[in-house]
């Protein structure tokens, strides 16, 4: 039996009727057309589908859309705009923190949550923080560099 839900995504309120089995990742991509959230493994390993739910990073493939009723969601589309990247996106550009771009939405969203919750005082801590997000292109070096730079910016010092 379908359920009615109301969710706020990137500041816009959406009302929809969903099957209980619909994954939040598919709801965002197929129902709302927000294809910035990528779907990789669909069992919580790759991190590509990570979004912010009420401020916390969450795997959208491990969440039923019906459970997001009433939630405030931010996807990669909500971080910055084409003309105005947010600080972390800007560091990913500056440090060349992406190649094919498939993992990037998840990297950015995870990065936002890590920057909010952890000191990220060492590369080891950044790498541990990113361990739930797989990248098959970069070897992670420039992703770590981008987050290191964003952490320095957050702390008010130059990278």
């Amino acid at each position: 039996m379908k359920k009615d839900i109301t969710v706020t995504v990137n500041g816009h309120k959406y009302e929809a009727r969903v099957e209980p089995r619909l994954l939040l990742s598919d709801f965002l991509r197929d129902t709302l057309g927000l294809t910035g959230t990528h779907v990789g493994c669909e069992h919580g390993v790759c991190g590509a589908c990570t979004i912010l739910v009420n401020g916390d990073s969450v795997r959208s493939c491990l969440t039923l859309a019906v459970r997001a009723d009433g939630a405030e969601i931010v996807t990669v589309e909500g971080l910055g705009s084409r003309d105005q990247l947010n600080a972390l996106q800007n560091e990913f550009r500056e440090k060349h923190g992406l190649q094919c771009g498939f993992c990037t939405p998840g990297m950015l969203i995870s990065g936002m949550d890590l920057l909010r919750k952890y000191p990220l005082a060492s590369d080891a801590e950044i790498r541990e923080g990113l361990s739930g997000n797989l990248c098959r292109c970069t070897g992670y070096q420039n992703i770590v560099a981008a987050i290191r730079a964003a952490a320095a910016l957050r702390n008010g010092s130059a990278a």
């Binding site: 089995r21 598919d26 669909e42 069992h43 919580g44 795997r59 949550d113």
Partner: protein
């Protein structure tokens, strides 16, 4: 990679949730954070006819000091435990273990009640329940009961709950006077399930270990409390001989099996090495606390 069709209910009381499971006649599945259940649903390894969502039940997410016990609501999320000042002060081994639980995005969703009920033998929270000799409180069709952690875990992914029983609270007795403690774990990658892990805590009296607690995981199909290893620590003055004997007893107390991730011999070696490392860390912490 999509779940089968199922019905969904989100009751607003524990009693209603139990009733929903009773009505499902064994074909219902409780969902808390969903971080273990969702992959099983996506793979269609779990095919319930109804999902009973617990997250709309109020008052089950809390961390409270009740005398000599920390009472944790079953829907408390891993990240809440990780960042709790009360946990840091009163259950320091748990605080040290929490960052090892999966990844931040999983810790933001996964719950303690869910992790205990899932009963993965290489997961941190079941081991911590065993380590602290926690009491697991569950509600079923015949009311509430209290289950000691040592009786809760039956084997890998199997607990002692009845099909309609739901964990609602876990009580962790504080290890009073324990100044030396450590948590050590080896996993193949950050956030992976542990190959082996040990938790250790003790109190000192006149420079010697007077009361010790030891638990391990990854070395059996449930987490283990290692009482012989606890006894072996008694009277230790922190010397190398005592540390070696402790590690030997730990190694002798477990009989892991071969699996795809590691051989039995490797795991047995590993738990001994972790025991020595934990002992050294715990001892220097205890000595630091005394000076």
């Amino acid at each position: 990679m999509k779940p089968v069709d199922f019905d969904y209910v989100a009751p607003e009381s524990l009693e209603a949730a139990v009733q929903a499971l009773v009505s499902a006649q064994g074909d219902g599945k409780v969902m808390a954070g969903g971080q273990s259940l969702m992959p099983l649903l996506n793979f269609r390894m779990a095919r319930p006819s109804v999902i009973v969502d617990l997250m709309r039940i109020p008052d089950l997410s809390s961390i409270q000091l009740m005398g000599d016990t920390v009472a944790v609501g079953a829907l408390t999320q891993h990240a809440d435990l990780e960042f709790s000042d009360l946990i840091k002060t009163e259950l320091p081994v748990m605080a040290a273990a929490m960052p090892h639980v999966a990844h931040l995005a999983i810790r933001n969703r996964g719950t303690i009640g869910g992790s205990l009920s899932h009963a993965d033998p290489a997961a941190e929270l079941p081991m911590l329940a065993m380590f602290y000799a926690a009491t697991i409180k569950a509600q079923g069709r015949n009311g509430r009961r209290e289950i000691p952690a040592e009786q809760f875990f039956i084997s890998a992914l199997t607990n002692c709950l009845e099909p309609e029983e739901i964990v609602f609270q876990i009580d962790f007795p504080i290890l009073k006077g324990h100044t030396g403690w450590a948590f050590e774990e080896v996993a193949r990658r950050f956030g992976d399930f542990a190959l082996a892990s040990i938790a250790l805590s003790f109190a000192l009296s006149d420079g010697r270990i007077a009361d010790a607690r030891v638990a391990a995981m990854g070395v059996a199909d449930t987490p283990l409390r290692l009482r012989k290893a606890e006894d072996a620590l008694h009277g230790s003055d922190g010397g190398a001989e005592g540390a070696r004997r402790f590690a030997e007893v730990v190694r002798a107390s477990v009989s892991p099996s071969n699996d795809i991730h590691a051989s039995a011999a490797y795991r047995q070696h590993l738990i001994g090495a972790l025991a020595e490392k934990a002992f050294a860390a715990a001892w220097s912490r205890a000595v630091g606390a005394e000076s």
